[in-house]
């Protein structure tokens, strides 16, 4: 992962620099992807707590109302 293979073998200074640059770029991309998981997890948790629990309660009328209310503040 993250260009670990580049560490192996004998390489010139320039090659090491270039591989390091690539590995840092790959790492930066991976860090950004991981950071974005915060929003995904919060969104998912919000849906589960606000909508899925009423679904489990099998209250049809309440669910219809909640689905309407939940999408009501989308902006």
């Amino acid at each position: 992962m993250f260009g670990l293979g580049n560490r192996r073998g004998h390489r010139s200074g320039a090659e090491v620099d270039s591989s390091l640059e690539k590995r840092v770029a790959a790492l930066e991309e991976a860090v950004q992807e991981n950071r974005a998981l915060n929003v995904r997890l919060a969104e998912l948790t919000d849906v589960v707590t606000e909508l899925l629990l009423p679904v489990a309660a099998r209250d049809e009328e309440k669910l219809e109302e909640l689905l309407g209310k939940y999408r009501g503040d989308f902006s």
Partner: protein
């Protein structure tokens, strides 16, 4: 260009040229300059930072929003907002008109450039009677936030103005509030922001989300103006204060809470406990020196951090707003996709248009007796049709953002309960989406169609011609059908039919790809 008079003072700025293109100034010393037209500040710049150095001097180009106004006569004054006063003044003729230049909005209200170079109604043009409604609005939103459990305070320019000058900053144009959550993890802070938005909506406020922890709360001011107050979320984690969207610095909670107060235009408002530390964190140690041309020098690492954690929900929305504004007067026509769906599903009960734009297809289906749902993340596009169809029980328009998972899960859950057969159309949307948005589109279509034999009908630009079609439809650029095909497969779907056709017989015309997709295999 015609020079009618000139006033020079000691320490003046040597202006070599001033015309519709810009200013050419001699000098090499960095300095802050206010530009006024007929004694009213219009623009501020840092000579070296904002100018371009050439052999004959430093060139400053008029910011783009100002250029349409540069036709007429005005007295241009360059001054030092600090001690040195007027540096240069001359009456200048721009263009041909003999009238005085008036930089105003259609309602005649004076405009000037703010620090982001947007032409806005800045506070220096508002008199006391006009400031009162804003102060009322700040008080009201702070009160509403307190009701939902948040001790919010003045932030950014509003805090700076209150703490430094006891008033609104003349060259500022909006009011900013902030809060520091009791949570210390981004996930919890985001969840709290969702809760706050719900609570404020319940209280009757219109709230717009700008990122996962930044909201705009709209207040109808007592003068009838709809004003949006920005509320920036923040939190402390491992000794660092993070305040959306510029601050990530070592900090202590005690420097924020318990809040102190500062006077703003004669009224007391909450501000962080240690105002010096807070303003230093926001604007740097020189926060006491006024700078109308201030630009945040937020480190790239902080911007990246906030981008990763909280941003990315509104990508493309401004572009679609501009598109709909530009094309609102174009003739509306029903899409080939709508006709294809109607033909394939004569017994259709529910039609969903993802990215419905103005809602032409939605209205067309409703008129055929079909329940029609228009989804778009740019409500500006469908507002007119939604109003026109307000009493039509078959039509619903819903704000729907493919970049927000809450929308992608909850809206299809609502639609999946509607009568079948259901079909989904999506016309010239995917070209403007990234991979995440496209996968979310497929995920939501799959959920909307669950339990029926319905299909997703997709149309996108596959080859851009020289016929203006890409601009006319808002597609902008083509998308390779093989990319879409791979993502359909990834979503568990299959392409039932696929056609590519030119949009006209003219040579060099654009080509669109239409796919019919299902998840019934």
């Amino acid at each position: 260009m015609r020079s009618l008079s000139q006033l020079r003072r000691p320490g003046a700025l040597e202006v070599l040229r001033i015309d519709a293109a810009g200013l050419l100034v001699a000098g090499t010393r960095e300095q802050l300059v206010d530009v006024s037209f007929d004694d009213r500040r219009i623009w501020s710049f840092w000579l070296l930072r904002d100018g371009e150095e050439g052999d004959d001097g430093i060139t400053l180009t008029w910011p783009k929003p100002l250029r349409p106004f540069l036709d007429g006569v005005t007295e241009v004054t360059l001054s030092d907002p600090g001690a040195r006063g007027v540096l240069f003044s001359r009456t200048v003729q721009f263009g041909e008109r003999a009238d005085r230049i008036a930089v105003v909005n259609p309602a005649g209200r004076p405009l000037s450039l703010d620090k982001s170079l947007k032409l806005v109604e800045t506070f220096d043009t508002r008199d006391a009677a006009q400031v009162e409604p804003l102060l009322d609005a700040i008080e009201e939103v702070l009160g509403a936030l307190r009701q939902v459990g948040l001790d919010a305070f003045l932030a950014y320019g509003t805090a700076l103005g209150a703490i430094r000058d006891g008033g609104l900053i003349g060259h500022d144009s909006d009011a900013d509030l902030g809060y520091v959550s009791t949570h210390d993890h981004p996930v919890d802070v985001i969840r709290e922001s969702f809760r706050i938005q719900r609570a404020l909506t319940d209280m009757g406020y219109r709230v717009t989300r700008y990122s996962a922890i930044a909201l705009k709360v709209h207040v109808l001011e007592s003068d009838g103006l709809d004003r949006g107050l920005d509320v920036f979320g923040g939190f402390m984690r491992d000794g660092t204060l993070y305040l959306m969207g510029e601050i990530a610095v070592p900090f202590e909670r005690e420097w924020i809470y318990p809040l102190g107060t500062a006077s703003l235009e004669g009224r007391e408002f909450p501000v962080p406990a240690d105002t010096d530390k807070f303003l230093t964190a926001t604007y740097g140690p020189r926060w006491r020196v006024p700078d109308p041309a201030y630009k945040f020098t937020t480190p790239a690492s902080t911007i990246e951090l906030f981008n990763g954690w909280f941003r990315g929900m509104r990508t493309g929305r401004a572009g679609w707003h501009a598109y709909h504004k530009r094309t609102a007067h174009h003739a509306a026509s029903v899409s080939a996709v709508a006709e294809e769906v109607a033909e394939r599903h004569p017994d259709l009960a529910t039609y969903v248009d993802i990215g419905c734009g103005r809602g032409t297809d939605v209205a067309w289906f409703a008129d055929r007796g079909v329940t029609a749902i228009g989804l778009d993340f740019q409500p500006y596009a469908f507002d007119t049709e939604a109003q026109r169809r307000a009493d039509d029980p078959r039509v619903t328009f819903q704000l729907f953002n493919l970049l927000e998972l809450r929308h992608v899960l909850a809206v299809p859950a609502w639609i999946a309960r509607m009568p079948g057969p259901r079909a989904v159309g999506c016309v010239h949307v995917v070209e403007r989406l990234g991979r995440r948005g496209r996968l979310n589109m497929l995920r939501s279509a799959r959920m909307m169609l669950a339990g029926t034999t319905g299909t997703l009908h997709l149309q996108f630009l596959s080859e851009k011609g020289r016929d203006g079609y890409a601009r006319r439809t808002g597609a902008r650029k083509p998308l390779d059908p093989s990319v879409v095909a791979a993502e359909v497969e990834e979503s568990g779907g299959r392409i039932v039919e696929q056609v590519r056709e030119h949009v006209s017989d003219a040579p060099g015309s654009s080509q669109v790809c239409r796919m019919i997709i299902d998840w019934n295999a």
